[in-house]
Symmetry: C2
Subunit: 79 residues, 2 copies
């Protein structure tokens, strides 16, 4: 049993208007010193048995993220 | 300078149709053994100076997440 966490974020050179809106709101609501906010997606995947790492990389890079504008990172926690 | 990561996920008792769709797709595309997928949001917040932890908790619980259906977790990385 393993828990795989795939974090998907916009590439640094891609504008993130959602993150910019959150940055403005955090400042207005009193959180001091915020210089940047980026919003991404997170997939928490429970896998029974061994994790097919190569397949996982392929699907994280093509199904879970858009390789044109997004990066992904994979964290595997064995339970 | 600190990097604050706020992960927002649906509460376990809330149905996650997006996650369910991803679970189906991962299986069909050849990733074996997937028993559950949950999709969440991730905010990466860069803060200059000290982090106002109380304010951060307040905003993570009310602005960044919907307390009726979502949980959040906060990770602070000092740079």
């Amino acid at each position: 049993m393993a828990r795989v966490i795939v974090d998907v974020s916009l590439k640094p050179e891609i504008l993130d208007p959602q993150g910019r809106a959150v940055q403005g709101a955090l400042g207005r609501l009193g959180l001091a010193g915020v210089t940047d906010v980026r919003q991404g997606k997170q997939f928490v995947i429970e896998i029974d048995g061994t994790v097919d790492r190569a397949k996982l990389e392929e699907l994280a890079g093509n199904l879970l993220s858009n390789p044109v504008i997004e990066n992904y990172s994979i964290t595997i926690e064995q339970a």
